[in-house]
């Protein structure tokens, strides 16, 4: 009897709370343009995502504050958790954003697996644009997206070729490779090894490392035993990749490191005790100016713009809003139809912090070519074309050596 009363009270409380919650949410609706930010706030890359979401929200805030979007519209970003790994939870979150919060577009998702799930099961069927800042799996190039899926991060297949070329050009012919054991790392490593071997190089050993396990002594031992002088690390700057480099430095086992985009971050240099000078890496984008502007912009807002996929996140958000402006309304179709046009030439080049300028040009009937923080250029399937910066660590900073 007592139990049933408890149950009843609990139920009433829950319902009352739900109604209050939902009506309160409802009131917030319809005033602003809603944009979804779906990233893995919990799960294996939970440490990367807050910075990415912040960066996207920088762009939204910049546009809102400019008052130039569609005659002064404001943007409300809505975050949702993709969990990075649980396709079901990600789909549910996206479902809520798209069908209930009526977002005009989605910045996300992050990990290639959930991104595919959200695109196939929710975004494409509902005709909502998704711009992923970090899903780099080559498989996404060919998904049947009906023109609704874009990404500001290029496919790993391309980066693998570029990194291989960088190493070959520097006269490195034998490397050991370690990659983070997920679709990003594995796909990247496959592409790199194939390209490097095709160019006449040899890969002495390829091993994976797991994220979130902490101890990498065994991996480094195996890598060091290969006898190679160069270690290629395809992982994350705040995770296993950093652990591998740290352990290698401690054991003094490699002369030279080369890294992929997930590792490029000041946090890598700051977080490692030891000298990284001479470390080389590749990062999507071609113009140091855009990246620098983004860092400054972020710093002026009290955020840190330096980190994996943060610049890509800003660009992904900015592109969708420019597309709205180009089409003159915040409809979902408009975003889809105009996104390519604002991303590519012809038009005035727009960089981070200049979104207001871009919006104004579009409002006046002009054209823009959004460059952003990563020198955005979309291929005809809607992904970053993949010009890459070749970076090298000098004086405890990543410096651009050349553009490829």
């Amino acid at each position: 009897m007592q139990n049933r009363n408890l149950l009843l009270i609990l139920a009433v409380l829950i319902i009352a709370g739900a109604v209050y919650f939902m009506t309160a949410e409802q009131q917030k609706k319809d005033q602003d343009i809603k944009m979804g930010v779906i990233l893995g706030f919990t799960g294996p890359i939970e440490s990367l995502t807050p910075g990415m979401a912040d960066s996207a929200e920088l762009a939204f805030a910049e546009v809102s504050e400019s008052g130039a979007l569609l005659g002064g519209a404001k943007i409300t970003p809505l975050r949702a958790d993709s969990t990075c790994v649980d396709a079901a939870a990600a789909t549910a979150a996206a479902e809520r954003l798209i069908t209930s919060d009526n977002v005009a577009g989605i910045m996300g998702a992050d990990c290639s697996g959930v991104t595919t799930a959200v695109a196939n099961n929710v975004a494409v069927p509902n005709g909502v644009v998704m711009v992923s800042p970090s899903a780099t799996s080559p498989a996404l190039t060919t998904i049947d997206d009906k023109g609704y899926f874009f990404r500001t991060a290029p496919s790993d297949a391309r980066q693998g070729e570029v990194l291989a070329a960088v190493l070959k050009d520097r006269g490195i012919s034998e490397v050991a490779v370690t990659y983070t054991n997920n679709d990003y790392g594995k796909g990247f490593a496959d592409a790199f090894v194939a390209a490097f071997e095709a160019a006449g190089g040899s890969v002495s050993v390829t091993t994976s490392h797991e994220e979130g396990k902490g101890d990498y002594a065994a991996e480094v031992g195996a890598l060091a035993a290969s006898g190679s002088d160069t270690l290629v690390v395809l992982g994350y700057s705040d995770g296993g990749g950093r652990g591998i480099i740290q352990a290698s430095l401690d054991a003094d086992s490699f002369q030279q490191f080369a890294v992929g985009d997930g590792m490029i971050s000041q946090a890598l240099i700051d977080g490692i005790s030891g000298d990284l000078t001479g470390l080389i890496g590749t990062l999507p984008g071609s113009d140091a100016a855009g990246a620098k502007m983004f860092l400054d912009l972020a710093a002026s807002k009290g955020k840190d713009g330096d980190g994996p996929y943060r610049a890509e996140s800003y660009d992904a958000a900015a592109l969708m809003m420019l597309a709205m402006q180009a089409g003159g309304n915040a409809e979902r179709e408009t975003v889809a139809k105009n996104l390519m046009a604002v991303a590519n030439a012809p038009g005035t080049e727009i960089f981070p912090g200049e979104l207001a300028k871009g919006l104004k040009i579009l409002a006046d009937g002009g054209q823009v070519n959004y460059q952003g923080a990563t020198n955005v250029e979309l291929t005809d399937v809607g992904e970053a074309a993949g010009s890459y910066k070749e970076l090298e660590v000098k004086n405890n900073k990543f410096e651009t050596v050349s553009i490829r």
Partner: protein, 340 residues
């Protein structure tokens, strides 16, 4: 001479890549596994929340370390975190005693079957999991400072003239040292003090111990306190040596269980031995012995392959494989813990 130098190189190589890392990792596992085993011995259940308890203690220590660092206080060449450790330990003791009071005591009084405790510990695990992330966030946190190396590989090479270097980090040395100290203290406590003896009696035979007038609440309390101290030590040392990330600490749970079961659950000595065995197996089974072969074999004999028993892909499966093998072959573990 060349032969002698080669053997020396081989030795240093092994020490650098196998011995030192495995000792440090093994010490961390041992500390955690002793905590698991103590709880199992006294409260008779596998505590699934142990990893997250560790994360909680480490988190408090990190907060305190940051405060000390910003106040300009340091421990010289040693990490500041050592100064912050007591705070972390106290907070964790408070936490485990509270969870015991509000969660586990209830089931103890009702003499619930062990599985109910496990389910409850899963609940505690979920809550701590959320709590830690709520407070410190999910990010990777570094809080190491002070001298990094006792011996760095480069220095070693220069001073010995060998081709291979040996590096020992401060944190590794510290880990091994603290682990030895903590374990020695624990054994002194269990063997020599009255409370320790009553705990062992309680672990051996609960009913008999109760007949002899041992206060069960006191024994349980002390067990929790010890487990908390060991968990925070393990957590902080692990964090100093590698880095702190809540997710990693949850993942340490299975190696702990593996070590505890391998050694014979309820047996502190066993847990320590188990910890080192798990660590050494993980490192030796996946280490590539090619370089060693280069030093030790005539040049024509060195094979092309890496000479690895198992790819590092399966490194994390090793502790689970050990676990399953032990359960199959000798469920009582090496030191014949309580079972069945």
């Amino acid at each position: 001479m060349g032969g002698f130098e080669n053997s020396l190189n081989a030795l240093v190589l092994l020490a650098n890549f196998v011995l030192v890392p495995a000792l440090a990792y093994g010490s961390q596992l041992a500390l955690g596994a002793v905590g698991v085993t103590l709880i199992f011995g006294i409260l008779r259940f596998a505590n699934f929340a142990h990893g997250d308890t560790m994360a909680f203690g480490t988190m408090v220590t990190i907060f305190c370390t940051w405060a000390l660092q910003s106040a300009g206080i340091s421990a010289g060449p040693l990490p500041t975190a050592l100064l912050a450790l007591p705070v972390g330990i106290l907070a964790t003791i408070a936490l485990v005693l509270l969870t015991d009071r509000f969660v586990f005591r209830f089931y103890r009084k009702r003499r619930s079957p062990p599985v109910i405790y496990i389910v409850a510990s899963v609940g505690v695990m979920f809550m701590l999991n959320g709590l830690v992330r709520l407070l410190i966030g999910p990010d990777d946190r570094k809080f190491t400072d002070g001298e990094r190396f006792v011996i760095s590989a480069r220095e070693f090479k220069q001073s010995t003239g060998l081709a291979e270097g040996l590096s020992i980090q401060t944190t590794q040395a510290l880990t091994i040292g603290v682990a030895i100290l903590a374990v020695a203290l624990l054994f002194w406590f269990l063997q020599k003090t009255r409370t320790g003896k009553s705990m062992r009696a309680f672990s051996d035979n609960e009913d008999l111990a109760l007949l002899c007038g041992i206060d069960p609440d006191r024994v349980v309390r002390v067990a929790w306190i010890l487990a908390a101290v060991l968990a925070v030590l393990a957590g902080v040392l692990y964090g100093l040596d590698k880095s702190f990330k809540p997710f990693i600490y949850f993942n340490l749970l299975l190696p702990f269980f593996a070590a505890a079961i391998l050694g014979g659950i309820g047996q502190p000595v066993g847990a320590i031995v188990g910890g080192y065995i798990v660590a050494f197996t993980e490192v030796t089974a996946t280490y590539a012995y090619k370089q060693l072969a280069v030093y030790l074999l005539p040049s024509g004999w060195v094979p092309d392959g890496l000479l690895q028993f198992l790819s590092t892909d399966y490194k994390f499966a090793i502790s689970f494989i050990i676990l399953v093998l032990v359960l199959l072959i000798r469920p009582t573990g090496i030191f014949r813990g309580r079972v069945l």
